[in-house]
């Protein structure tokens, strides 16, 4: 019987992260609309609210001293943002209207040309870009940089951004979301209060918008609490990327498939790589791997290192140097995995937390921005005099599903799942689906959660390249290059079964791009103890997909991305 990580679930219960407000009423912090997450969705929401309130000072006043607040667990907006990214400007255009032309957003320029290759160990066969991978009219962005730019606009529009603040619990009162409780600061690794201990606080709001991104902590808690889980379980891909300073500018947007991922169906290795130019002197290179893989020795981090040794890739990086590294999961379930409702009393859900990503096109930023914008409109409608919160919030759900977000996701709804049948079959089916604009469907394939993947051992770890410090790197160097300098002496934020079969522990050790997990002592009963170094964590979320559960650490912890 094959081992599955899901047989060893983490000690985590969503109800532990739900609470009534407990601070005395006069100590609770009240805001109008609370946005959790200063990513593209959250910031778009705050920006749109700022626009609406600027034209309606009466409502702004009713919302009190702080009409719009954004809490962000990273050091500053952008610190935890990572994506490819080739972005469709439609989201930004609809948010800013006439104020900016598409080429005036803080991008690295429009996509000039593109190329798609199928790689083998030493070769590369160029194929015409499949319809889903055509990027004319799109722009290359650093999401982290875009986040900083959007944050400035959000603040200009009156939003108050509260960085280094973790949203630890969802405040629910009388069946309605009342806000969040922020995380404590200043506990040591045993949970004891240190000299500078600062307890979290109840932050109450009329409407709470969760825009936490992939594996959103409170988003998961809310989906559980309000029974919103979709028809299919959510599945994820893990993206690992680097930014390089290079001598020769890259001209084209490049995507690859094939090596170093394996085609045989038994491995279920879905994914590919990307290289995007970032101006004349930088580029970004990344690897995306579906987390429904079977091989316990699969390491996305090391596959990226291996990818760089391909002669074609090596040439592109020659004479350059790595200046940044990062990792993040991408929700891959699409339409079929959307929650049944995108709202609950007092609550709206946006962006990657919902899984608004078009995997075949590898795009989600514009959906995040659009969903944030629509959430703002619903929240505003709910809060103006005469507004009816119940119908206004429900209108958000309809707006997302019936607008271009829903249309796009519906069109590609089964594409990711078919790749579960292997690369060749999957590729053919995917093409058929695209050409027919989604009319060809294979029906609802039963998608299994990533943690249910039965594990096998392939021996491939022995072939990962030894880090040379110039082209290839080890995980700890990568963690350093993410800017992570998390305080060590704080409670462990990762929930995970501590005693598991060696194969599960090995899978986690290879899975994590930041070397958080190590196979520890053999307990002599068929299990080993899993050893953790939580301060390495870059909060990518992979562990939640594969049998553990990530919760937010102390605010300000984690990576400090700037170029990702």
């Amino acid at each position: 019987m094959a081992t599955r990580a899901s047989d060893f679930p983490p000690p985590f219960a969503a109800k532990d992260y739900i609470a009534e407000p407990t601070d005395p009423v006069d100590e609770r912090i009240e805001v109008g609309v609370l946005v959790v997450g200063a990513g593209p969705a959250g910031l778009a929401c705050a920006i749109r609210l700022g626009q609406l309130l600027a034209d309606d000072p009466a409502t702004a006043e009713r919302l009190g001293d702080v009409p719009v607040a954004i809490v962000e667990k990273g050091k500053q907006p952008g610190s935890h943002l990572l994506s490819g990214a080739v972005v469709n400007p439609i989201g930004l255009k609809r948010l800013f209207g006439e104020r900016y032309r598409a080429d005036e957003f803080p991008s690295y320029g429009a996509v000039h040309g593109e190329a798609v290759y199928v790689l083998s160990r030493r070769g590369a066969v160029r194929i015409p870009p499949p319809p889903t991978m055509r990027n004319h009219g799109n722009y290359v962005f650093s999401l982290s940089r875009l986040g900083r730019w959007l944050a400035e606009h959000a603040e200009e529009g009156g939003a108050m951004i509260l960085p280094e603040t973790a949203a630890e619990k969802l405040l629910v009162s009388h069946g309605r979301v009342a806000g969040i409780r922020t995380g404590d600061k200043g506990r040591d690794r045993d949970g004891k209060e240190m000299g500078n201990f600062e307890p979290g606080a109840d932050l109450v709001a009329r409407v709470t918008v969760l825009a936490e991104g992939t594996q959103g902590h409170l988003t998961g808690v809310a989906i559980d609490r309000f029974g919103l889980a979709g028809a299919q379980p959510q599945i994820w891909e893990l993206g690992v990327k680097e930014v390089w300073k290079v001598e020769k500018p890259l001209r084209d947007v490049i995507h690859t498939m094939g090596w170093p991922l394996r085609k045989a169906a038994k491995y279920r290795e879905f994914g590919g790589s990307f290289l995007y130019p970032m101006g004349d002197d930088m580029l970004t290179i990344g690897m995306v791997v579906g987390l429904d893989y079977r091989d316990a020795e699969l390491s996305a981090h090391d596959l990226l290192q291996e990818l760089k040794t391909h002669p074609k890739i090596r040439k592109l990086l020659a004479g350059g140097e790595r200046v940044a590294w990062g990792a993040k999961t991408i929700p891959g379930g699409g339409w079929n995995s959307l929650p049944t409702r995108l709202y609950a009393p007092g609550l709206l859900l946006c962006g990657d937390g919902l899984g608004l990503v078009n995997i075949p096109r590898l795009k989600g930023v514009h959906y995040a921005i659009e969903s944030g914008r629509l959430a703002a409109e619903s929240a505003y409608a709910a809060l103006r005099p005469g507004g009816t919160p119940g119908t206004s919030l429900a209108a958000y759900d309809a707006a997302v599903r019936e607008g271009f977000i829903g249309r796009d996701l519906h069109e590609v709804r089964d594409m990711r799942q078919v790749f579960g049948r292997g690369f060749v079959v999957g590729g053919a089916l995917a093409s058929a689906m695209t050409v027919s604009k989604g009319k060809v469907s294979v029906g609802k394939l039963a998608a299994e959660p990533d943690a249910d993947a039965p594990l096998l051992q392939s021996g491939r770890a022995a072939a990962y390249p030894a880090p040379d410090g110039t082209l290839t790197f080890d995980k700890l160097s990568s963690v350093f290059a993410s800017g992570n300098k998390t305080r060590d002496d704080q409670p462990n934020h990762i929930r995970i079964a501590q005693r598991v079969p060696a194969q599960v522990a090995e899978m986690w050790a290879h899975l994590c791009p930041a070397q958080v997990y190590e196979v520890g002592e053999d307990n002599g009963d068929g299990t080993v103890t899993v050893q953790l170094a939580p301060s390495n964590c870059v909060q990518c979320g992979a562990i939640t997909a594969k049998g553990g559960r990530l919760t937010p650490p102390e605010g300000g912890s984690g990576p400090e991305y700037t170029l990702t």
């Binding site: 607040a69 940089r145 000299g195 606080a201 200046v323 800017g483 170029l563």
Partner: protein
């Protein structure tokens, strides 16, 4: 009573360098120099619940307002930023001139500095500022209290502690061992925006532009060079004599 705390906004990247690229990453926004947080904390402890006013003073670009806001979020009452293009590139001589002018304008009873990291700018600034203010200075304060009309300081040296007293007004630089800076509370962060923040130009401060910035500096940075090679690095395998080999190596380097 008024306590002024001199703080600096440092680029976030200065704490994070890729040894490979050797580049200072300035694409982040920057933060309050962590040693200055000790000084702000000490000022807040001395203030306690009293009416003492804690003012944070800084010289820097407009972005430095972010660090000042962090100090306000911790509990400081007011912030003063001297921001002027002509002040950019100031060395210790020029910076101390500008800061002293700002501090004289405040007329504080006690001026606090943090123990800047020795590879940052602004280290040893306190003695220069005290000199211009013509007031006593005590540095490396591991403990600080107000006694009567003066300060009582436990000063950490290489040999132990000196206990020093000086009358106010005085300048004290605190070591990072003196306290653990508090985390700003959410209320503090949200209230910071409402606290008074002044931005002054050199002219408003009465400092001649020629006395600040590069014009007013007496030192220059000429360029970057590679450090001298570490010298041949040796690697040996233990054949039973490694301990002796190490001792010989250390003796040769006069480390024994």
């Amino acid at each position: 009573m008024k306590i002024a705390v001199c703080v600096k906004h440092v680029p976030e990247g200065s704490a994070r360098i890729d040894p490979g690229s050797k580049r200072l990453d300035r694409s982040g926004e920057g933060a309050l120099n962590r040693f200055d947080a000790n000084a702000v904390e000490e000022a807040l402890r001395l203030k306690g619940e009293s009416e003492t006013e804690v003012v944070v003073v800084s010289m820097g670009p407009e972005k430095a307002a972010d660090s000042l806001r962090k100090a306000l979020a911790m509990g400081a009452d007011r912030a003063v930023l001297v921001s002027d293009d002509a002040a950019a590139g100031s060395d210790l001589v020029a910076t101390s001139r500008v800061l002293a002018a700002a501090l004289e304008r405040e007329g504080a009873d006690l001026v606090l500095f943090g123990q800047q990291a020795s590879d940052g700018d602004g280290a040893v600034l306190w003695a220069a500022v005290a000199e211009r203010l013509r007031r006593p200075v005590v540095s490396q304060a591991a403990a600080l209290s107000l006694e009567g009309a003066g300060v009582h300081v436990k000063r950490q040296t290489e040999f132990g502690y000196d206990v020093i007293e000086a009358p106010l007004p005085a300048v004290v630089a605190v070591s990072d061992a003196i306290n653990e800076p508090r985390y700003p509370s959410l209320k503090g962060i949200m209230g910071a925006k409402k606290k008074p923040q002044e931005v002054l130009t050199l002219a408003e401060l009465g400092v001649d532009a020629a006395q600040a910035g590069e014009a007013g500096s007496q030192t220059t940075v000429l360029g970057l060079a590679s450090p001298p090679a570490r010298g041949g690095s040796q690697k040996i395998e233990d054949d039973g004599n490694a301990a002796q080999a190490i001792v010989d190596f250390l003796a040769e380097k006069r480390l024994l």
